[in-house]
Symmetry: C2
Subunit: 459 residues, 2 copies
């Protein structure tokens, strides 16, 4: 791969265009996809556009389909009008909808208006559904059969539809009003007697989703039930599209990335995961600031509020400066104990191990675990503090407040994401800075309270 | 679903066994899978085993295959010997290998010895490959064709193999020594002329993996190239198994969960994600401690070390107690700025947006972004500190040290995971507590240094 890259880069520098064209068009399509993605990652967009233009029409189309949205967007914006239109016309309607979602609205409109009416309609239909729903991500390119066809007729239809359909392994049976009657696999069809009727070999129990179903829910359904595709129906139960397993895998990765990124306050640049991660690495600094600063501003406010707690106990600090030594222990332990329990909650919730009905039990158990771990850590920290400061009452203050802080942090780490979920908010997004602030403030408050109680005689 | 559950629970309490048996056996297999998983999540293992025993043999087998490993393990340990053996015998060799990996070694050996020799061999072969490799997770149940078969003969073979094979949509062509010659899809076969030879319609360029390929790499390959299955070959290039897309989806989720969990120090209980998350929610407290305490112990050590830095400046604190007020700001800002950059590194690395060769550039850029954000936040915090304490030199100390701490934390958050990757360690696992400790110590050191410089005249 990298030797291909070096060769090509050298030829490009030496402007050996004919040789370059020859070499490029001899490559496997997927190697080109990888190569172009690397160029995009390195920000070499002009080179990317030049090289792409050297590809034969057919090769360029298959390569384009497999590029990331980000790279597709770059190319569309760099290519001359006609070429862009031709490529857009050849794309699958669902891929096209996703790309048009990303390019500037003006460009999208212009492109959409330039493609043939039937293709435009397919994509416009998809774009009418809300973002992140099954309707938006489905493809209308499925194979439907009629119940009174014979197996042989069905196979004939599949042969004729093969090129345009996104999958021929799952086949849907519809009535005259396009309502979904049943499903069968190509395997069922191939192993059935040629003369048998579709209605006799189809399965009437169809697992399906509605156009307004959340895209993640649809993807999880495909995953859980090991399906190759799931049909999407509208409110009148008419079949309008399908979601295939390769799209489901992409959606699951996209949602996971979104969860991970938003936990670190990186969740607002764009819906599209590849794009977002790449922009944070390569994009304009202004974009990066826009994403990263809000989270840090909240952190700053939280840190100042925690500082205000310390300020309130300035007299204590003036009397015994050593009190400040254990501030990091209280803050770090509360922080990490809380991170553990919020991670456990979030994963268990995603995987369906937390039942809302039994949340009281889960929370009590978690708080109990926090208390038990806090007691152990508090004992250790208390002994260290006693010995270090040569003052047993110091050990008592550190130990007890550490145990309580960890109990509280563990319970809050579990409770706050749950409350956010119940309020209909994404359980991951933005919960972290609030949890940090609440943990810091309450931890420091607990600590200084016990310091006042146990070290009062020293002040 | 929940009304089914209530009905069944009521019948079980009233010991209406005949009625219960009837109702259970009328359910769709997937509804039962969901129901049993819920029982497992609630820790109702005895009820689970009783209800499972009431299922008809055929239904029990299909339900069992779709249960989580955790639930399967519970059932195997609760069921009488013969029944367990019968179920194990009917499982796919790869699923069986995964289950036997989880149950206690003694039980696994006993079960393996009780099943027919040919099935035992298939699973034992898989268990010989190292954990988390393609060899361990593949299934030997694929359909292979010979190059000189006609399309019609191939279809005949598929019909006969259909029941035992894990997929019939991707077909592999092998020679007499089982070496992989080519691949074709059922779609290719169905649309080909009946008399055509397999060698003429197969694709000789096969995307494949080796038995020792990492399972995540294999799963990513399936996802990236939109494959329904990928063949696994041994060192002699002989076809020994395949990995199907449904298994790839499970692996990707498992690996993601592992990354997320290990970042919060929850990564050592068991390889199996569903099991781990569930055990943390429902399992014995001893297990939970074992997983969670090590991370907290490291945090405690880190916190104490940070405390030692404060201790070293006790004289400063005794002179100006207000210095302690900004300790939380320095710690929190360094912490969250570092979390952002380590999250960005980890995601970008997973998604392939970071090139090792250009790491110097990435790191410089990231440090620059850290500096720019640190400068902004430092300015704000410095102004607040000046006004709050009525002392401009206080603002200077807070502002400059916050800017430097954030720059350092951002660079370290990016650099440390990279170093761990280069050392061949999982980039997520265990990096967080070290990053926290290094950030705290250096942040506090920077802060107290600037306090000494700018506030020296007040001491």
């Amino acid at each position: 791969m990298s030797s291909l890259m070096e060769n090509i880069t050298a030829m490009l520098e030496n402007k050996e265009m004919n040789r370059l064209k020859e070499v490029l068009n001899q490559q496997e399509h997927y190697d080109l996809v990888e190569f172009f993605s690397e160029l995009e990652a390195q920000g070499k967009r002009d080179e990317l556009a030049i090289l792409f233009r050297l590809l034969n029409k057919d090769l360029s189309l298959v390569v384009f389909e497999d590029l990331s949205l980000e790279t597709q967007e770059t190319l569309i914006q760099h290519l001359a009008g006609n070429w862009a239109v031709e490529i857009i016309t050849e794309m699958e309607p669902d891929d096209r909808a996703r790309l048009l979602d990303e390019v500037p609205a003006k460009v999208a409109k212009q492109l959409l208006n330039s493609i043939p009416a039937d293709e435009r309609k397919k994509t416009a239909d998809l774009l009418n559904y809300p973002a992140e729903t099954a309707g938006r991500i489905m493809t209308p390119e499925y194979v439907s059969l009629k119940a009174d066809m014979s197996a042989e007729e069905a196979l004939e239809r599949i042969r004729s539809k093969r090129k345009s359909a996104e999958t021929i392994y799952v086949l849907y049976v519809t009535d005259a009003k396009r309502r979904l009657l049943g499903v069968l696999s190509l395997g069922d069809l191939v192993t059935a007697d040629k003369a048998s009727r579709i209605r006799d070999i189809m399965n009437e129990k169809v697992i399906k989703v509605h156009t307004e179903t959340d895209q993640e829910e649809a993807a999880v359904l495909l995953k859980e039930r090991d399906l190759l595709a799931v049909p999407v129906v509208d409110r009148e139960e008419r079949l309008v599209g399908i979601i295939t397993v390769d799209d489901a895998m992409d959606i699951l990765e996209e949602e996971t990335t979104e969860d991970i990124m938003s936990k670190a306050g990186l969740g607002t640049l764009t819906r599209q995961e590849t794009g977002r991660s790449q922009r944070l690495i390569e994009g304009p600094v202004w974009d990066v600031w826009k994403v990263r600063l809000p989270f840090l501003v909240i952190t700053l406010i939280g840190g100042m509020l925690a500082g205000a707690v310390i300020d309130a106990y300035e007299a204590t600090l003036e009397a015994i400066a050593a009190v400040a030594i254990f501030i990091p222990v209280i803050m770090d332990m509360g922080g990490n104990a809380g991170t553990q329990s919020s991670t456990i909650f979030t994963r268990a919730f995603v995987l369906g191990h937390i039942s809302v009905k039994r949340f009281g039990y889960h929370l009590t158990r978690e708080a109990g675990i926090g208390l038990s771990m806090g007691a152990m850590m508090g004992l250790v920290a208390g002994i260290i503090a006693s010995v270090w400061q040569g003052e047993p009452s110091f050990g008592l203050a550190v130990g007890i407040s550490l145990a309580l802080t960890m109990t509280l942090a563990t319970a809050l780490g579990f409770l706050i994401p749950f409350i956010l979920v119940r309020l209909g908010m994404d359980q991951a997004a933005g919960s972290d800075p609030f949890i940090t602030t609440i943990k810091d403030i309450s931890g420091l408050f607990i600590y200084f309270t016990f310091v006042s109680i146990f070290l009062g005689h020293l002040m």
